[in-house]
Amino acid sequence: MKFRAFLISTALTAVTISYGTLGHAADIKEVQMLHWWTSGGEAAALDVIKQAVAKQGYAWKDVPVAGGGGGAAMTTLKANVAAGNPPTASQILGYYALEYAEQGSLADISSLADKDGWDKVVPVALQKFAKTNGKWGAVPINIHSVNWIWLNKAVMEKIGGTEPKNFDEFVALLDKAKKGGVIPLALGGQPWQEATMFDSIVASTGGTEFYKKAFVDLDEGALKSDTMKKAFDNLAKLRDYVDPNYTGRDWNLATAMVIKGDALVQVMGDWAKGEFAAAHKEAGKDYLCYRFPGTDGSVFYNSDMFAFFKVPADRQAAQLALAQVTMNPDVQSAFNVIKGSVPARTDVSDAAFDICGKKGIADVKTANAKGTFFGSLAQNYAQPPAIATAYYDVVTKFMHGGIKTSDIAVTELVKAINAAK
């Protein structure tokens, strides 16, 4: 414990030096926002919230900490919170929000939540991360989901393909593409990408109920089952359709292959839409989006949230203003149209979205109602990061030949997950 306090204070010193101004100008009419949305599209999306907050009469104090995955931002946040000097709000991912909530660092904004009826409009599975012991401490701004496939429409027409409804049809479609002389599957051979694709394969092979049992409940019987073995075998099948140079490729380069028509399809979360948008491609016209074959009706999500920390009384008004703005349906709509994700409340109109966004919104609604809305293991929303990393390990070793059979793969999976618990 002492060591942690020491480490944190060391980190804090470093952080105070670099972010010296953060928090010293405690002002009632100011919102300090720590985030890692620094790329073009992300910053444009955040601007929507910035404008809305300004309309409420609050100044916006940006505290960006660059680094895609948010690792650096989380370190900065930890130091600030430990020093008793938290920002008004911070971008955060599920398990980190839970950590702070359990530690008692999060504010209670339940009064606002009750007034606006968030309980009814935010998907139940997401509330697990936003709400601790019945108190709202964080709000979700969007929902991404991983069980999507993205296809180049021109290539699809050239090979005469139709939407695949199950895994076998998907393989048949990939075969068609192979015969047609294009790379069937654009994949980036990095552990997290392979694992993200495997999330969908598991759900497609064993069904949503099996996914929940294996990845949400970590049921050892399910993890070792023949169904899981079959999922690994299905992953091996897909390996036959990637180009030989896929190892280590970044996800956006794989998306670019689909955009350019070098490849037919990519299995990726809906952040891939941002790449299509940046290339001025239109959903339905230039590219197609389907749910991963066999997972239609289910949504495996990850989400960006804003966590609200315990702040002095004179800063609470700003906090509530930001929370209210964030959960405003119009803001959620405008933000997510730019970000490529789906609003985190189910009552937002889909009028402003393209057909992929419309489908995403409808899917979240039905999945939430049917109870088929689950966190993605690969994206750290089904289990804490330690278990996701162990999962990456097994999937990527299987994919690249380190683990040779699906029998060994499931044994290794159980072993790795138990070690990470």
């Binding site: 942690r4 051979g189 997290w192 970044d250 990061p385 990527t396 070793k397 690249h400 030949g401």
Partner: protein, 318 residues
């Protein structure tokens, strides 16, 4: 008047008496005072944390440090992993890769560095331009070097693609996307980055060699090869020592280079002890195992360095 001068003389004498002792006191203490903060920092942040890591490696720490001692359990786990080859454990891969990467990196950096330095030392024209060109890669961070080499070696967009477009269609070089071979690409990028720096070290050493000795060798009829082999290289042996220390620690601590060249460790094939240590300590909730691996890394460096430093210092004092 006389009284004044007497008094002045007295104070002057007193000052003279006081002066040296105060100055002497300062001369004694100033270096210690100046060095004290950095000494203290090194003591706490290097040696203190070394001991702390050593302690953690004997505990059952998972996500957070605990003081629950479990003896050698974590070392036993690492030891078992060392022989777990099918499927290869992360630790086994890390050790094999360390041997391959470290060996190639150190050997080729020394070899190329020395070769370049000797060639540059032939009093050629344009040395002033050539030297910074070779040194320049050092100005880049490893992550930039790694990303650039990854793109350059990528068969689809880099070297292979370019040569295919120029007509050499049988050319095939896909190490960077082959999990078995990618560690060699990491070595290539590392060697490119560091050999210029080693060259500069050797060049400085070569310039320090007394010209008289070389002339004497020439008069005795020694060939250029013999001069370098028998005279120059033995003289600049301490440079080898410095270069080896610099390269060895760069090899063992390299982290960003391997991640950027290989694209985040696909297939778990690009593990190094440093990446192993980081991921087990900070993302896999196995802090004790991570600490044990860190201790093993430290002992490995010590096993190489201590005998070397010992023999070198003994020779100097003789």
């Amino acid at each position: 008047m006389t009284a004044m001068t007497e008094r002045e003389a007295a104070t002057a004498m007193a000052r003279r008496k006081l002066g040296p002792s105060l100055r002497g006191w300062f001369q004694d203490w100033l270096p210690r005072l100046v060095l004290a903060p950095s000494f203290l920092l090194v003591l706490v942040f290097v040696y203190g944390f070394n001991l702390w890591t050593l302690f953690l490696s004997f505990t059952s720490s998972k996500a957070f440090p605990t003081t629950n001692l479990v003896g050698f359990t974590n070392y036993v786990r690492l030891w078992n992993w060392t022989f777990e080859t099918d499927p290869p454990s992360n630790w086994y891969t890390a050790l094999v890769n360390m041997g391959l990467f470290g060996g190639l990196y150190i050997f080729f950096c020394l070899f190329l560095g020395l070769l370049l330095a000797i060639l540059l030392d032939q009093k050629i024209r344009g040395e002033g331009i050539l030297r910074p060109i070779y040194l320049y890669p050092l100005a880049l961070s490893f992550i930039v070097t790694g990303t650039a080499w990854k793109l350059f070696l990528d068969p689809r967009i880099g070297l292979e693609n370019a040569l295919h477009e120029w007509g050499w269609t049988s050319f095939h070089f896909d190490w960077v996307v082959d999990p078995q071979m990618m560690i060699y690409c990491v070595a290539i990028a590392g060697i490119w980055q560091s050999s210029g720096f080693v060259m500069a070290m050797f060049l400085a050493g070569l310039r320090g060699v007394d010209g008289e000795i070389l002339k004497a060798a020439q008069i005795d009829g020694a060939s250029t090869y013999q001069t370098y082999r028998r005279i120059v290289i033995p003289i600049i042996r301490p440079v080898f020592f410095s270069a080896l220390i610099v390269l060895a620690h760069m090899a063992i601590k390299s982290y960003d280079l391997v991640l950027s060249v290989t694209g985040k460790n696909p297939g778990g094939a690009a593990e190094l002890p440093s990446t192993f240590m980081y991921s087990y300590t900070f993302t896999r909730n196995q802090m004790a195992v991570g600490s044990a691996s860190a201790v093993i890394m430290l002992m490995t460096i010590a096993a190489i360095m201590v005998p070397y430093i010992y023999s070198e210092t003994r020779e100097q004092s003789r």
